[in-house]
């Protein structure tokens, strides 16, 4: 393994570990702090290095023998993706198993080498030169070289991945192949979070040959990458099976080990019902589950290896329509920000398991988050009332709603229930609605169906007064996506507050183009203060990903870029547990795409 020095040591452990309790399910107790981005206790420390964690070694059974090899991990997941790779967060999670990225994000916010071994940015910040590993092949046998990377950049931006395009669109210009293993990405303007951006699995590298020669269906269900697993089988509505890529030897620098994955495969079960999913962990049917329901988190912390990941980017916020309706008045927006006790609300609705997010713009785990700006709207009913009085909302209807010139202080709040907002989030919104009544607001809640929401029924300034949603992103550049004013030439549908403020936009642009990290932070802070003053959005809670792992398996961690589970380092804790695990579906008439594993070495360790 030849990787240049990384800016940070991988695998920083941020959670204290308590003595192991007896019982087969109890492998460790992860105690979490609300404001730090946290990695699983069991996931910490490279298992193979000289400084291997002694506890880690103990877990593997025999000291020095290395982790148990083989077995199939049963993982229970909430939502089924449409494709393995795509612009939806669910597709980001599955893509992480199959595709590799150029760089990897660590839990302290830095970026470390993966397929790119090193990089440099030009003086003007508009050309990124990336040096690639020379030994990487896709699972169809073709080489992952500079040509392939250049092809992928064009593919992502040209309709291959809508989210990738949302991040880099307007900045990406073209790619230049310097030599077989060096590629230069030309930008039309400096973009400071470039590396952080391409660490997301929306920027997973696929075989250009596969993209060009196979059908859409094949590229959707079995994308060809260079990752630690390949897609073996997908029974829609039931599970996706991933099989180990035995040739894998190019894990990111922050991986816990190099070489192929320890387990023979993963069965990624789709279990949409919360009770069933947590129940399947209790019954031992699943080795691990994602999206632990809030009501079960306290118990999961006790009995399982529990990890919570607070996604960076835009937290779950209420975007206020600044173009039409009562929220065109800045004082009304500020009043609503002050009117409710959001902290108590979130603590109650999530039973204390999910952190409150005071900021309407960035979540607390986002680099360059400004705590001071976030805290500008504490619960202050008195001030809220003052602001509303000053804004002229002085009349009162019999139900207590304020009025002004015969108009009620009423707002339509729309949100995609169960598709975007969880049932717990629905509770937060209802508590918010009830509390806002005290200040004289009449909020009308309108949960929408996915068909309505994604069909654009609530996308125009005419269709809502407030909208609740989030957008994960590993860096503060999300502000550019959410607050770039919409223009004739370049409409910005992601600007859900319809805020049109040139000054804020310029501040955000200057942050993106700032030459030093210090200046980037300073400009983003300024942008958050400016936004906070305008109050176009109200922070509610952080979007979190959770993972609970049973005692038979260890080594799972959550990808710091997006919060998806990473199975490359996972392994069974004992031979018995491994032997008790299931197997992947036996091969039937196999497609040529997966036949490459035939010449791979057999599982001699077993």
């Amino acid at each position: 393994m030849s990787t240049p020095p990384s800016p940070s040591a991988p695998g920083l452990r941020t959670t204290p570990r308590t003595p192991r309790l007896p019982g087969p399910r109890t492998t460790g107790l992860a105690v979490l702090t609300a404001t730090t981005l946290v990695l699983s206790a069991c996931a910490a420390g490279p298992g193979t290095g000289p400084d291997a964690d002694p506890e880690q070694a103990a877990l593997t059974g025999a000291a020095g023998a290395g982790p148990v090899q083989g077995g199939v991990i049963e993982y229970g997941h909430l939502q089924e993706p449409n494709c393995i790779f795509g612009g939806w967060i669910q597709e980001n999670f599955t893509a992480r198993q199959v595709l590799d990225n150029l760089v990897s994000h660590t839990e302290d916010g830095s970026v470390v080498p993966w397929i790119a071994t090193g990089w440099e940015v030009s003086e003007d910040g508009r050309a990124w030169t990336l040096r690639l590993r020379e030994d990487v092949t896709f699972t169809d046998g073709t080489a992952l070289d500079a040509e392939a990377v250049a092809y992928n950049f064009d593919y992502w931006l040209d309709g291959g991945n809508g989210t990738a395009a949302a991040h880099l669109g307007g900045f990406y210009d073209h790619s230049e192949v310097l030599d077989e293993h060096t590629v230069r990405i030309h930008l039309s303007a400096p973009f400071s979070p470039f590396l952080s951006t391409i660490s997301q699995s929306y920027f997973g590298l696929q075989s250009p040959t596969a993209l060009q020669t196979r059908t859409d269906e094949e590229n959707c269900t079995e994308p060809i990458g260079s990752g630690p697993f390949t897609v073996k089988d997908w029974k829609r509505g039931e599970y996706i099976e991933f099989e180990r890529n035995d040739d894998y030897d190019w894990a990111p620098q922050n991986a816990r080990h190099q070489g192929p994955a320890h387990v023979a495969g993963i069965r990624w079960n789709i279990v949409p019902d919360n009770t069933s999913r947590y129940g399947s962990l209790l019954s031992g049917e699943m080795d691990a589950i994602g999206e632990v329901p809030a009501v079960n988190i306290a118990q999961a912390r006790q009995d399982y290896d529990f990890t919570q990941y607070i996604t960076p980017g835009r937290p779950v916020v209420m975007s206020l329509n600044t173009q039409r309706g009562i929220f065109t008045d800045q004082q009304v927006r500020q009043a609503l920000s002050l009117a409710t006790d959001r902290e108590a609300n979130v603590a109650s609705a999530f039973l204390g398991t999910v952190p409150f997010e005071p900021s309407g713009y960035l979540s607390q785990t986002t680099p360059d988050y400004d705590e001071e700006a976030a805290a500008e709207y504490p619960f202050d009913l008195h001030r809220a009332n003052e602001l509303l009085d000053r804004a002229g909302w002085t009349g009162r209807d019999p139900d207590g709603t304020r009025t002004k010139d015969g108009r009620r202080l009423q707002a339509l709040v729309v949100y995609g229930l169960n598709s975007i907002i969880t049932p717990d989030g629905n509770t937060v919104i209802q508590n918010f609605q009830e509390q806002a009544r005290a200040a004289g607001f009449d909020l009308v809640l309108r949960p929408g169906t996915p068909s309505e929401f994604f069909g654009g029924a609530f996308s125009t300034p005419e269709s809502y007064d407030a909208q609740v949603g989030y957008w994960t992103s590993p860096h503060a550049g999300i502000l550019n996506i959410n607050y770039r004013p919409s223009t004739e030439e370049a409409p910005n549908g992601a600007n859900t507050t319809f805020l049109d403020q040139a000054r804020v936009f310029e501040t955000i642009q200057s942050a993106l183009q700032a030459p030093t990290p210090e200046e980037v932070t300073e400009r983003f802070s300024q942008a958050q203060h400016e936004l906070s003053e305008l109050a176009p959005a109200i922070g509610l809670y952080t979007q979190t990903n959770t993972l609970a792992v049973g005692g038979d398996v260890t080594g799972l961690w959550l990808d710091p870029a997006q919060g998806g589970p990473v199975f490359h380092d996972a392994h069974f804790t004992s031979q018995d547990a491994r032997d008790a695990s299931g197997t992947l579906t036996p091969d039937t008439a196999d497609t040529p795409d997966t036949a490459d594993s035939a010449d791979a070495p057999a599982e001699s360790e077993d």
Binding site: N274, S348, P423, E434, P447, T449
Partner: protein, 308 residues
């Protein structure tokens, strides 16, 4: 989606109309007078219990404040998911709202869905069913096929259309469920009207030269629909169950409405942590459906008793 409870209800009960549908001597003269006589048999205890519960439901619908004084919207962030106890008879929900109060205050909209959907369904069914039975061969063929199509059609799609147009509300559910149950009733109405049409008294009225509209409204419909009365009371409970099935699929009434289907759906994630949120609203739905069934059967047997 609970298509099953609904559709079978009408069909299942068609064996009830089958009795009166077979004209017996004297049936024709019974015509509209039979209804007014009173049952002479003692009323079973179950009917008394059901009657008492029905009275409670009516009070809860029109004056919920008499039964539950707590504000069904008032939240208590310090007491989410409190178990049933002295302060909160049925416990509290995830916002700390009093579940007892919410169930009482949700009675009105839930019953409205039950009654409204049954009304819409039966109204449509009477029009379509009579038309099919009386409108001649072509009308019968076309409407008959139309009913078949509706039977084979997922109500989910209809619900989506209405929600897209009207938003998720009690009215939307009434329309969606009403349309969903209409084909079952329409079949029954058609069968009833056809049988009554051929009965002696209708033939007699025709022979006397009465106007067809008069024959329809004075003779055919009253006699054809009377056996459906019992079926209707069953349908009310089924419509509530059905509406809760739509809530499960995300087509329920918007929060913070305490409509029972919405309560059931909201309580589902808490079944292991706060069973009362799921079990108690379910029991309310069940008790209401049972009450309607018991009363409906009593009405039915009373009518039949009078006739024999």
């Amino acid at each position: 989606m609970s298509t099953t409870p609904l559709t079978p209800a009408p069909a299942g009960r068609v064996s009830v109309p089958a009795g009166p549908a077979s004209p017996t001597p004297g049936h024709g003269t019974a015509d509209r007078t039979a209804r007014t006589s009173v049952s002479r048999r003692p009323v079973p205890v179950t009917v008394w219990v059901a009657g008492a519960f029905a009275v409670l439901l009516v009070i809860a619908s029109f004056a919920p404040g008499l039964l539950a004084t707590a504000d069904p919207r008032a939240i208590d962030l310090d007491a989410p998911l409190a178990p049933p106890g002295v302060d909160h008879w049925f416990g509290t929900d995830q916002s700390g709202r009093d579940l007892y109060s919410r169930i009482v205050h949700g009675t009105g909209s839930s019953l409205l869905i039950g009654l409204g959907a049954t009304g819409v369904g039966v109204g449509l069914a009477v029009v379509l069913g009579s038309w099919a039975a009386l409108g001649g061969r072509w009308a019968d063929a076309i409407i008959g096929r139309g009913i078949e199509v509706l039977f084979a059609f997922p109500i989910l799609l209809l619900a989506m259309v209405f929600i897209a147009v009207y938003g998720p509300s009690v009215q939307t559910l009434i329309l969606a469920v009403g349309l969903g149950i209409a084909p079952g009733y329409a079949r029954m109405v058609r069968a009833q009207v056809m049988s009554v049409r051929r009965s002696g008294y209708v033939q007699a009225a025709r022979a006397l030269g009465h106007h067809p509209a008069r024959i329809l409204t004075r003779h055919v419909l009253p006699n054809a629909l009377r056996p459906l009365l019992a079926v209707l009371t069953l349908g009310i409970g089924q419509s509530i169950v059905w509406a809760s099935g739509l809530a499960f699929l995300g087509f329920g009434v918007a929060p913070p409405s305490p409509e029972w289907g919405a309560l059931l759906e909201a309580g589902r994630p808490y079944i292991t942590a706060a069973w009362w949120l799921e079990i108690i609203p379910g029991l309310a739905v069940l008790a209401t459906a049972l009450t309607a069934t018991v009363l409906g059967r009593h009405v039915e047997s009373t009518l039949e008793g009078d006739r024999s």
